[in-house]
């Protein structure tokens, strides 16, 4: 009889460990929270294949559109997570860099007829330069003061866009921005745009991943943990902060450029404080100190907002309640907590079954 029980255990254990393995493939590892992420693991391959195959399996144009928006938000969140999740600084002005990118592309392609491929890089460069000029004085501030200063920058950007109609079209904005095209290939359907945006996002994830596992990533974490400690080991704290800020802004500029060429319009309402807060929300909900979490958060929130828009005037309260609940139950990101809870549940079931068997 003992043998029988033993065999039973083995099969069950196999089942549970299979489930755990599957889980480890999909959901970020809580131990990886804040740890350097290595180049390629099984999980990365899984994500890559999912992203590549998903739109083919689920070929609904609306879904493609949501994923295009989610990808753009993902780029924004990725840029911010380097700044917020790794270097521990807060920025509420991310939407402004997004806007700078979008308007650069809009102006360059509609007024000067520049190819959108060049405008794409020009947008990143413009956002980069603006971030550099603003970052130098602003990044001396810490905590709430930094949040307020970046928030102020976002508002100033909006006012400037609204008040210079000649360049930006004022409140009305700019229309008929051509679709992104490269070497004669025009990204005019949602499916093509999906691959464009997720391709860019993958490149940026790779870049960020490399950054995080090199000495720069360690410097980010060091600045977040202790600025005194960081400077005592020879890290130029202000340079590191400026560097992360500028990289995040360049990411946002790229996202803005893609947004302008996907949506074909750019108007100031899009780049308000709402968006900045939304990006911060994505990073926090997805999980800080993790590169994939914020992207998951971006997809989730984009999807949620789209779903809720059906309920019209009730959408905002429902949205708020959901966010509050998530922040209560998953304070350090959906990904990180979910895994811990699922592992706990699975091992609990395993133990329970085993106990029952032994008692018999």
């Amino acid at each position: 009889m003992v043998d029988q029980v033993h065999k039973e255990f083995r099969r069950r254990d196999l089942l549970y460990s299979g489930a755990l393995w599957l889980l480890s493939l999909i959901i970020p590892d809580p131990q990886l929270h804040y740890r350097r992420e290595y180049r390629f693991r099984k999980r990365d391959l899984f994500y890559l294949l999912t992203i590549l195959l998903l739109p083919l399996i689920w070929s609904d144009p609306h879904f493609h559109h949501i994923m295009v928006l989610g990808g753009i938000h993902g780029i924004l969140a990725l840029g911010l997570t380097l700044f917020l999740g790794y270097a521990g600084q807060i920025s509420l002005g991310q939407a402004a860099f997004f806007g700078i990118g979008a308007y650069t592309t809009a102006v360059l392609t509609t007024r000067y007829g520049l190819p959108s491929f060049l405008a794409f890089w020009a947008s990143a460069l413009t956002a980069f330069l603006f971030a550099y000029l603003i970052g130098r004085p602003i990044l001396k501030l810490k905590g709430y003061f930094l949040a307020l200063a970046t928030l102020g920058f976002g508002e100033i950007f909006l006012v400037m866009v609204r008040e210079s109609p000649r360049l930006t079209g004022g409140v009305i904005g700019i229309f008929d921005i051509p679709f992104f095209s490269f070497a004669g290939f025009i990204f005019d359907t949602y499916l093509k745009q999906y691959y464009l945006i997720w391709g860019v996002l993958m490149g940026l994830v790779l870049f960020s991943k490399n950054l995080i596992r090199s000495k720069m990533g360690r410097a980010f974490l060091a600045v977040a943990a202790s600025e005194d400690g960081a400077s005592a080991v020879g890290i130029d704290v202000s340079r590191i902060k400026l560097g992360v800020f500028v990289i995040g802004a360049a990411f946002a500029g790229l996202a803005g450029s893609l947004f302008a060429s996907v949506m074909s319009t750019a108007n100031p309402e899009t780049f308000s404080l709402n968006l900045s807060v939304l990006i911060v929300m994505m990073v926090i909900l997805g999980g800080m100190g993790n590169l994939y979490g914020p992207i998951a958060g971006a997809i989730f929130l984009t999807y949620l907002i789209d779903e809720l828009s059906r309920y019209q005037e009730y959408s905002l309260p429902i949205y708020g309640v959901i966010l509050i609940l998530l922040l209560i139950f998953f304070p350090d990101g959906i990904g990180t907590r979910l895994r811990i809870r699922l592992i706990y549940l699975i091992s609990y079931w395993g133990r329970k079954r085993r106990r029952e068997k032994v008692e018999l």
């Binding site: 000495k215 060091a222 943990a225 005592a232």
Partner: protein, 251 residues
Amino acid sequence: MFLSVEEIVKHYDGVMALNRISLQVRKGTVKGLMGPNGAGKSTLFHLISGMERPDSGKIFFKKRDITGLQTYEISRLGVGRTFQTLQIFGNMTVVENVLTGMHSRIRGGFLSSGLYLPQIKKSEEIAIKEAKEILELLGLFGRWKWFASQLSYGEQRRLEIARGLAAKPDLLLLDEPAAGLTYPEAKQLAQTLSRLKEAGLTLFLIEHHMGMVMEIADEVAVLNNGELLAEGPPDMVKKDPGVIEAYAPRR
């Protein structure tokens, strides 16, 4: 002179923290800095490492005036330090803490790191090997995969020294390295420090453990209320009436 502090004055809103302090540290020696609480010891370290600016006076390191330099510049010139209140990076593993200490010695900027060029990979690999050696020296090798925040207090203190050593400093400022350690731990630390001294490192340490200072220091300076009370070999300082008065005032 290796490190030379000249006529340093520092006050905080009327409190005189350091009043015209001058002292020297010779290359390859261990200098102890003692004094009651609030004597200005940590302030002196903050001034040397550039975390604060002196009101007047100059600090020279290897004949270079380092008085208004930034902390990271002074660190890159070869002055490492640890802190009285631990400043380890709890969000990283132990080995990553040490690797962070090597920051200025590992190659690469933002762009080359982001692209992970071959040279970056190479210097990372060398650095990891070296970091493990340093951890071995301080007896933390078994913990290298742990998060720094998971270590015990004594281990965190040692980790901070390891991180300071990783930068290959010429002078290491240790701010109460034995504070909060148990007796055997402090003894072990003293051994490690004397081994570092044999390896040619110059140490300047603040310490309250009388025994430890007497054991490893070549020279001792005593501060009290921002004034330099005594300076010289440990045996002489121990007998100085002013020092005895400061530590055990007669009622």
